[in-house]
Symmetry: C2
């Protein structure tokens, strides 16, 4: 086992910089040897951060290839725009570097298959940093499902309900290096951001480990929210009169091999009262639901709401218990910290990652498949079996496999290479 | 305008008796001339009720045809099991009696077309007593939509999330005259109870009045909840080892002519924390949502929850204001009272009903269409235009049309025929 790992960190925009600042640069067992971005101002901001924290200076790079050629580098973090995750990941995996990619979606199925093929040829692990798999609510449900408390699981709901015009889509309009999601919304019409919902649900349902996603149906509403927002707020920008292809609401229903259904909703362009992932698990003996902040077990008396805290006290996932003890670190209530640790621990231990290449491509592929279904008025579209049959015998997710080793959260030690 | 109407009341089971007791028998402008049911004990219970209330005795009948032949009868209430609503309604409409049917669903499209044809031939109004159209939350949203406060409406959600094994499906197993829903759950697999959700949403979206339902996709989960419940609780009954065809969760997405989408969920056989219709309206300027009990308008600061009461105070539907003033009557928070009044007022005024034959069959037909879609893995199924093109020019729902006349709620007067 390695005590300290050496990484290249690629992509220093808003998200990349945020995770670097809140998580990676705080971890004493990580040596950040390279910082890489196409934009000088991003590189400088990140270099300043390391200096402020008293960390060794990193090599600043505009070409990730030089990182991949360095035999000292154990792993790379790819925090770039969605479209470049896969091309860089393919090169990184071929170079034998443990590869982490930020959340995103696929643009075609070939890139998904490429990742699988490269993994199977090289054995290099790939992990999507799907932080929502490490949400406290999601892990509580997983823990309770694994203990059988909800009975047989039948249905799950999820959503990405997050109103984005002010906080991302039209933010920094005067900055040439701004967020690219709006460009994708001009082009595509699909479930463009599936993994925050689907990742944790896939864990609960044992997807690619005894179960698999079989098909989906996706249905899109009209697209009027962004155009109306631009008309109201962006009179002096070209966005004022731009057309968007992306529907305001895309509803997707996935059917699983075990007969379970999953509903998903992409919901980012109509004003709404609060952020929600609507994480919901329904079984024959009980349920967990983000709306209502409720856990319910057969035998309890209806109606019940807002009782989640009682269940955190009783059934918190072991990893979350440890996390609560060390106090909040990183953003998003600890999810960022924990997902980064899961990857880093895998690198240190030389094991596969708890979210692996099959999980990553299965989740990412939903965007492409939903795009096809939307075009056919929600006709069923088969979801490829990226495991090529291995899902039947892959080990189920168990607590030990999914959890981090307990020592992984200790970042106070002084660790030498 | 008639001051008092004469009715025949057909179907005196749990629901029929409940509405008779809480609503119809309390209304001074209604003369209940006939009580009709196939079962002696139901007839006797209803007759006892009228006697207890000091009302004139009604003729007790086991054959609804005798009611239809009585020229004194203005209207009939059909409160029987789902399967007999349409056959009785067809006869009643042909006999020229204003016809109210309880909530239910269609078994084939032909019966829907038959109702349309008979209406168009005879001019006899038909109304489904969809009480949820008169829910306070639903009417608040309708009022705000009509005032343009939510902007352009893009998407609605609804659900029938009500855990039924204890309260209905397996209730009174020893009684030979028990609820028939369980039999439908053995046979069919579809959105069997669409109208509680779809009725109010159709009002909001102007369905059959400038807009129409174009197609749907329905996807069904596995069916395990009832079987497991029976295994756990019903060892001494034949239900112990019965198979159910009905999925635990059926998700349906409807697409409208205007590009709006509607999601629906039938959810009655898995334990859950609370009853919900998940009534949700999403527009370009705001939203209303039962989960969260929230109304949100652009410009408010996220997050907001539990602020519905403020909006009731400010934008309560005029009809609800009157209802609140007279104090709660009937069941389900006034919805039963108001929907019965809407029908009775139409009879008194000789007008069409606010939920008319086109609305009724459009909403009922979802069961049949969803059944077809479920069998094809959620493939899109076209929804017939039961108005045969008239939806384009039918008047939009306006407050006056939808509302009751304000005097209709006064039931304190002594009214002679």
């Amino acid at each position: 086992m390695k005590k300290k790992i050496t990484i290249g960190y690629i992509g220093l925009g808003r998200r990349g910089y945020g995770v670097l600042k809140g998580c990676i640069s705080e971890m004493k067992d990580v040596h950040i040897k390279y910082l890489c971005d196409l934009h000088e101002k991003h590189l400088q901001r990140a270099a300043d951060l390391l200096a402020e924290k008293g960390l060794p200076g990193a090599t600043l790079s505009v070409d990730y290839q030089e990182i991949l050629q360095d035999p000292e580098v154990d792993a790379v973090f790819i925090m770039t725009d969605w479209a470049s995750h896969v091309p860089i990941a393919k090169d990184a995996m071929r170079a034998g570097k443990y590869t982490a990619i930020e959340v995103g979606c696929a643009f075609d199925l070939q890139e998904c298959w490429d990742l699988v093929d490269i993994y199977e040829q090289t054995g290099t692990p790939l992990m999507m940093l799907e932080n929502c798999c490490y949400g406290r609510r999601e892990m509580l449900a997983l823990n309770m499902v694994e203990q059988g408390l909800f009975g047989e699981i039948v249905h799950c709901d999820g959503a990405y309900s997050h109103y984005l015009p002010d906080v991302e889509l039209f933010l920094d309009l005067d900055d040439p290096i701004r967020h690219y999601r709006i460009d994708e919304y001009k082009k595509r019409n699909c479930e463009q951001y599936p993994t925050h919902e689907l990742g944790p649900i896939a864990k609960v349902l044992g997807i690619n480990r005894g179960n698999r996603l079989v098909r989906l149906n996706s249905i899109a509403s009209k697209s009027v929210g962004l155009k109306e927002y631009a008309r109201d707020h962006l009179a002096n920008y070209p966005e004022f009169n731009t057309d968007y292809n992306q529907a305001d609401i895309v509803t997707t229903v996935i059917t699983c091999e075990g007969g379970e259904t999953i509903t998903m909703k992409l919901d980012t362009t109509l004003p709404r009262a609060y952020y929600s992932r609507n994480f919901t698990v329904r079984g024959t003996k009980g349920m967990s639901c983000e709306e209502g902040k409720v856990v319910f077990l057969e035998g309890m008396t209806e109606p019940v709401q807002n009782n989640e805290e009682e269940f955190f006290a009783k059934y918190d996932h072991p990893l979350q218990k440890e996390y609560v003890e060390i106090g909040e670190r990183g953003g998003h209530g600890g999810m960022d910290w924990l997902v980064c640790r899961a990857f880093i621990e895998s690198v240190k231990n030389g094991t596969n990652t708890p979210i692996d290449v099959y999980d990553t491509v299965t989740w990412m592929s939903i965007a492409v498949l939903s795009e096809a279904s939307v075009k056919q008025n929600g006709a069923p579209v088969e979801i490829p079996d990226f495991t090529r049959g291995k899902w039947q015998n892959r080990e189920p997710v168990t607590e030990g496999k999914y959890c981090l080793d307990k020592v992984c959260i200790d970042d106070t030690a002084i660790i030498t290479d």
